[in-house]
């Protein structure tokens, strides 16, 4: 096998490195297509949806799929296809916010922990370990208990549960990099800790970080939908995938399509993200 340019970390830029890896794996392409569909559907919801998501059609209560309602209708006669598109917006936006929160705060903590001295560093490690002592969903639920149910709590909760993952990864990668010769060289040339952090540690952290972000996005979508399903996220009449399942569950016997569509949407999106993550992880 020929050595690829991406072998040297950061030699060709992290994004290029990831695209290289992706290009060689068909499963990654499938993932990319699934994720692309989910994002397009959510982004173009106002143009693609046949009906407004909260519009009530009393003549179509629990109606099976027809030409007018391609995926059927729910208990209020609301069009499931439209709610699915708008629901994707809510679920993906909340999950995206959560991942952004976890990645930024977690990376910052990890970097600070890596450049802190021995005692302070240990203190940070202790804090990270303490957060990891709580199962992720439990941690998320505790945050919801503090903030009270709602989409804001949903995002913060899932984000907080992700913070220790990023902190741990960033710290360990940065610690390895810190012992490299080029960091010593920079220090010998008089570079301060902030300069080393910004120009020598951060670039090396980006590639593993992007892989973790991909994997974490899958978990985040599942957790967001789980909170929605538990009735702790968006409130009716909002459309959100987890909430749609929570509502559809009551009419499972008479209208299984109301539960089928949102569940399939979650599964395919998470599957896409997982495949993408597998292709991107070294």
């Amino acid at each position: 096998m020929k050595p690829r340019p991406g072998e040297i970390p950061g030699a060709e830029g992290p994004v290029r490195d990831l695209l290289w890896r992706l290009a060689r794996q068909p499963a990654g392409w499938v993932g990319l297509v699934l994720v692309g569909c989910a994002i397009l559907g959510a982004g173009l919801a106002p143009w693609l949806a046949p009906h407004p998501p909260a519009e009530i059609h009393l003549d179509a209560q629990l109606a099976p799929p027809t030409a007018d309602h391609p995926l059927g209708a729910d208990f209020f006669g609301r069009d499931i296809a439209s709610r699915l598109l708008y629901g994707g917006r809510a679920t993906l936006a909340v999950a995206g916010t959560a991942v952004a929160l976890a990645a930024s705060v977690g990376t910052a903590i990890g970097l600070v922990a890596a450049i802190s001295g021995r005692w302070l560093g240990q203190l940070w490690v202790g804090l990270i370990d303490l957060l990891l002592a709580f199962p992720a969903l439990l941690l998320a639920l505790v945050v919801v208990a503090l903030l009270g149910p709602g989409p804001r709590a949903q995002a913060v909760a899932v984000g907080v549960a992700g913070i220790p993952l990023y902190a741990r990864l960033t710290r360990s990668v940065a610690l390895t990099l810190r012992q490299m010769l080029f960091v010593d060289a920079a220090r010998a040339l008089g570079a301060g800790p902030w300069h080393i952090l910004r120009h020598h540690l951060l670039p090396g952290v980006v590639t593993p970080l992007l892989a973790l972000i991909t994997v974490n996005t899958g978990t985040a979508i599942l957790s967001v939908a789980a909170l929605g399903f538990l009735g702790l996220g968006s409130a009716p009449p909002q459309a959100e995938w987890g909430l749609m399942l929570f509502e559809g569950r009551q009419y499972l016997a008479v209208a299984p399509w109301a539960s089928l569509a949102p569940g399939l949407a979650i599964t395919l999106t998470v599957l896409g993200v997982t495949l993408l993550g597998d292709a991107l992880t070294p």
Partner: protein, 316 residues
């Protein structure tokens, strides 16, 4: 050299691990104590806001929870109560939190353990098949099934099973916790979600072990694939799998929350969700403490077990 060598013994390792676990438990207790003070606004008012309580009731709750005492006194009181097994009283029904948890815990434990056995069985099987002939159709199928376990949400696969086995076929009860038959579907669904990570790690470690020289030597001796994979490789691949399996048991303790809701089963999950909706913070604190505590103990056990199984790793 001699000091470092002498420290790397099992008793020293055990002492250090027990100390870390003890500190983590103290940390968990501190975090759960802090919860009530992290509530936005006045904790007593926030908790009773939903019920629309009178100022007298809020004042009574403040005294009842000891919120008017100095912080350090509250903290030491909390630790002292924990040591005696007191977890406070529910705001909703006035019953001791410890009793509420003791009532629900058996249901959750039964579900978590059944699901765990199923997750191990399925995960190991899928992992071995996935590593058997990499690239073959059976291996591909097993890998897809493992990814499915990660991607399919419990609250959806649960609904699908209810629809098939309860609504259509009428074989299994859709809800409740009466009898063995009611645990089948929840355990299948929850276990499958945990089998995915186990299968992926089993496959990855097996493939790594199978590339070792001693495996080639075993093959050269004339042993067939079955003997090599199951006897020579599996024994060494099991140790990292054990660690992830321990993590999964902790994950299951959390995952029961969703599963219990899907199947309307009693358990810690239902207790916690109701407590969150009603802002019954003493119950939230109690459940969080018990589940996180169990998680810490499971991880400690797994670490010690992995160390015992693989002494060559050393006691660092």
């Amino acid at each position: 050299m001699s000091t470092e060598e002498s420290q790397a013994t099992f008793p020293a390792y055990l002492r250090r691990r027990l100390l870390t676990a003890g500190l983590t438990l103290l940390g968990v207790a501190t975090v759960t104590f802090a919860l009530i003070h992290l509530l936005p606004g006045d904790p007593a008012e926030t908790m009773l806001a939903r019920a629309g309580a009178s100022p007298e009731a809020v004042a009574a709750l403040r005294t009842g929870l000891g919120l008017d005492r100095p912080l350090l006194a509250q903290y030491l009181g909390w630790l002292g109560n924990l040591a005696r097994g007191h977890l406070g009283t529910s705001l909703l029904n006035g019953r001791p939190v410890a009793v509420l948890i003791a009532e629900q815990f058996p249901h959750t434990l039964a579900l978590a353990l059944t699901a765990f056995s199923w997750a191990l069985l399925l995960g190991l099987t899928l992992g071995v098949i996935g590593a058997w002939r990499p690239g073959g159709w059976a291996a591909r199928l097993a890998t897809v099934a493992a990814v499915g376990g990660i991607a399919v949400p419990v609250f959806w696969s649960g609904l699908l099973l209810i629809w098939l086995f309860s609504v259509r076929l009428g074989w299994l009860p859709p809800a409740g916790a009466q009898g063995v038959r009611s645990i089948i579907m929840p355990a299948l669904v929850l276990g499958y979600s945990s089998a995915g990570p186990v299968a992926r790690l089993t496959r990855a470690t097996l493939l790594e072990v199978l590339a070792q020289p001693y495996i080639t030597a075993a093959r050269a001796k004339g042993l067939n694939r079955r003997q090599v994979v199951l006897r020579h490789a599996a024994a060494n691949a099991l140790i990292p799998v054990l660690t992830v399996a321990g993590l999964q048991l902790g994950f299951l303790l959390g995952g029961t929350v969703v599963t219990e809701t899907v199947f309307s089963r009693p358990g810690l999950g239902r207790l916690l969700i109701d407590a969150i909706i009603w802002r019954d913070l003493p119950v939230v604190q109690g459940v969080a403490l018990v589940v996180a505590g169990a998680y810490v103990l499971v991880n400690l056990t797994v670490d010690l077990l992995a160390g015992w199984l693989n002494p060559a790793r050393g006691w660092e």
